[in-house]
C-alpha cells in the first residue's frame, strides 16, 4: 500500500451541474439543502402507454441558450448536458489554459445508456416507419463517449479522454479513475463526472418491464418505498493537485481522498451487502482513514426494496462501532444512472463545503429492517469533515468515493 503522506493531495476547484433540481451548481445545492425534490410527470417522451409517469427531468430544457442549432445537430441530449456541466465547472475553476495544461488534462466521463433518444429515433424510423434511410449523425450522437469527446473539443483539451460504462456506478468509477490519474502524476488536471438522458420511449419500456420503477415518487429507506425514479442530467468536477490549486489561488470546494471498487460476482441485478461493504472499506482504506472517522454517507439509496435493505446492512457491517449520518439525494434528483454518481459526489462535496447534510426527501415510515442514522426530510446543519458517496450498479459493480472538507480561507 502506498504511503498516503507522500502522494499529492487532490482537490475540487470547479463544479458544474444540470439536473431535475437545478440547472446550475447553486440551484442544485439550493434544492438539496431545502430537501426539495424535482420529481414529476415526464414530458419529453410520450408516456401514455407506460405504467409509470414520473421522473426527474431537466425542466423546460432547450439547447438554444447553450448551443447553436448546428452544434446541437451533432449532440444528443446527454452529450449536451455533459458540455453544459463541464463549462460551468471550468468557469468556476478559472482554469488558465496553456498548451501544456491542455496536453496534461484528462477527461473521464460516466455514461450508461448513451444517446438513447437518438437511437430510439433511428429505430423508430427504420422499424416503424420503414424509412429507407436515417440521419448520418445518428452514430456520433449515440456513442457513449460523445460527452467526453465534446468536452475535449470545447476546451481543446488533448490529454487522455475516455468514458466509463458501469451502469449506475459509471460516474463514480470515472471520477475515481481521474482522481487516481492525478494522484499518480499522470495528469495535472482532470474534468470528471457523468451525464445521462434516459427518457426515450424504448428504454423506459425496458425499465417498466423490470418492475423497479415507482408509480409515484422515490422514498429511499422508507418502509413504504416502492421503487426508483429515473433522472437525467450531468455533473462535472475539475480536479487538480492541492499544491497547484493553492499556487494559482483557485477556490477549493473540497478534497477527494479515496476511491474503492469491488465486484459482487453473484447476480446480474440483486445487490450484495458483502460486495457493497468491500467497496466502502476499499475507499476508506485508500483514503488512509478508519471507518470511525466517516461522518456522512451519501447512499446509493435507490428506493428499491432490495437495494435499501442490502445497503443498510452493508453500512452497518463497515461502520460497526459508530453510526454515520446517511441520506439518499436520489429522493430529489432521481436515479440518473451514468450521471448518478457524479450528482451524488457533487452533493457530498457541497455538503462538506456548506456545512449542511442534505436529507432523504419523501421519507414517511421507518423500516424495522433498516437501522441507520437517517437524515429524514430536513437537512442537518452540521459541519462534518469526512464523507463517502456510494454507487452500486446493476451487474454488481461497486464504486465508492471518499471526500474531505477543506478549511475555508
Amino acid at each position: 500500500m502506498s504511503d498516503s503522506s507522500l502522494r499529492p493531495r487532490v482537490v475540487i476547484t470547479g463544479i458544474g451541474v444540470i439536473s431535475g433540481i437545478g440547472s446550475t451548481r447553486d440551484e442544485f445545492w439550493e434544492s438539496l439543502r431545502l430537501g426539495r425534490p424535482g420529481i414529476g410527470p415526464i414530458t419529453s417522451t410520450e408516456m401514455s402507454e407506460l405504467r409509470f409517469r414520473n421522473g426527474s427531468e431537466v425542466s423546460n430544457y432547450s439547447h438554444t441558450p447553450y448551443f447553436t442549432d448546428k452544434q446541437a445537430d451533432f449532440m444528443d441530449r446527454f452529450a449536451q448536458f455533459a458540455v453544459i456541466a463541464a463549462r460551468e465547472a471550468v468557469a468556476q475553476s478559472c482554469v488558465q489554459w496553456t498548451d501544456e495544461l491542455k496536453d496534461n488534462t484528462a477527461i473521464v466521463t460516466g455514461a450508461c445508456v448513451g444517446g438513447q433518444s437518438s437511437e430510439d429515433a433511428c429505430f423508430h424510423d427504420v422499424y416503424r416507419l420503414n424509412k429507407p434511410r436515417v440521419p448520418p449523425l445518428t452514430i456520433p450522437r449515440i456513442m457513449a463517449n460523445a460527452g467526453a469527446s465534446h468536452i475535449s473539443m470545447e476546451f481543446s483539451v488533448t490529454g487522455p479522454a475516455y468514458t466509463v460504462s458501469t451502469a449506475c456506478s459509471s460516474a463514480s468509477h470515472a471520477i475515481g479513475q481521474a482522481y487516481w490519474m492525478i494522484r499518480n502524476g499522470q495528469v495535472s488536471m482532470a474534468i470528471a463526472g457523468g451525464s445521462e438522458a434516459p427518457f426515450s420511449y424504448g428504454i423506459l419500456k425496458a425499465w417498466e418491464a423490470m418492475r423497479v420503477v415507482s408509480s409515484d415518487t422515490c422514498r429511499p429507506f422508507s418502509k413504504d418505498r416502492n421503487g426508483m425514479i429515473l433522472g437525467e442530467g450531468a455533473a462535472m468536477m475539475v480536479l487538480e493537485p492541492l499544491e497547484t490549486a493553492q499556487a494559482r489561488g483557485a477556490a477549493i470546494y473540497g478534497e477527494i481522498c479515496g476511491f474503492g471498487m469491488s465486484s459482487d460476482a453473484c447476480h446480474i441485478t440483486q445487490p450484495s451487502a458483502i460486495g457493497a461493504a468491500r467497496s466502502m472499506r476499499a475507499a476508506i482504506r485508500d483514503a488512509g482513514w478508519t471507518p470511525d472517522q466517516v461522518d456522512y454517507v451519501n447512499a446509493h439509496g435507490t428506493a428499491t426494496l432490495a437495494n435499501d435493505v442490502t445497503e443498510a446492512a452493508a453500512i452497518n457491517q463497515v461502520f460497526a462501532s459508530h453510526r454515520p449520518a446517511v441520506s439518499s439525494t436520489k429522493s430529489m434528483h432521481g436515479h440518473a444512472l451514468g450521471a448518478g454518481g457524479a450528482l451524488e459526489a457533487v452533493a457530498t462535496v457541497l455538503a462538506l463545503h456548506g456545512g449542511i447534510l442534505p436529507p432523504t426527501a419523501n421519507f414517511n415510515l421507518r423500516d424495522p429492517d433498516i437501522d441507520l442514522d437517517l437524515i429524514a426530510n430536513e437537512a442537518r446543519h452540521i459541519q462534518v469533515e469526512r464523507a463517502i458517496s456510494n454507487s452500486f450498479a446493476f451487474g454488481g459493480l461497486n464504486a465508492v468515493l471518499a471526500f474531505r472538507a477543506t478549511k475555508q480561507k
Binding site: R51, M210, G227, I268, Q270
Partner: protein, 85 residues
Amino acid sequence: MSDELTQRVLKTIASAQRIPVEKVKIDSTFEELGIDSMDGVNILFALENEFNITIPDEAAKQIRSIQEMVDGVDKLLNESSAPAA
C-alpha cells in the same frame, strides 16, 4: 379454474425458467425451482405474453407462490372477458 389453464401456466413457468415442465407443480416453492426476483419478473412477462394480459406492479409484488400465479392469471382472464357494464 380449469385444469387446462393450470397446465398452461405451469408450462409457461417451466419454459421461462428453462426447466422441465414435470418439475413444476402447483405447490412447488420458488426456492425449489430456483426462482429469484429477476426470474420472477421474467416469468410474469412470459405469462403476460402467453395470455395477452397485463399484470399490474402492485399485484406482481404480492405473488409468492405458483398457486398465486395461477390464481392471478385466472382472475385477470375473467376480468378481461367480463361483459362491459
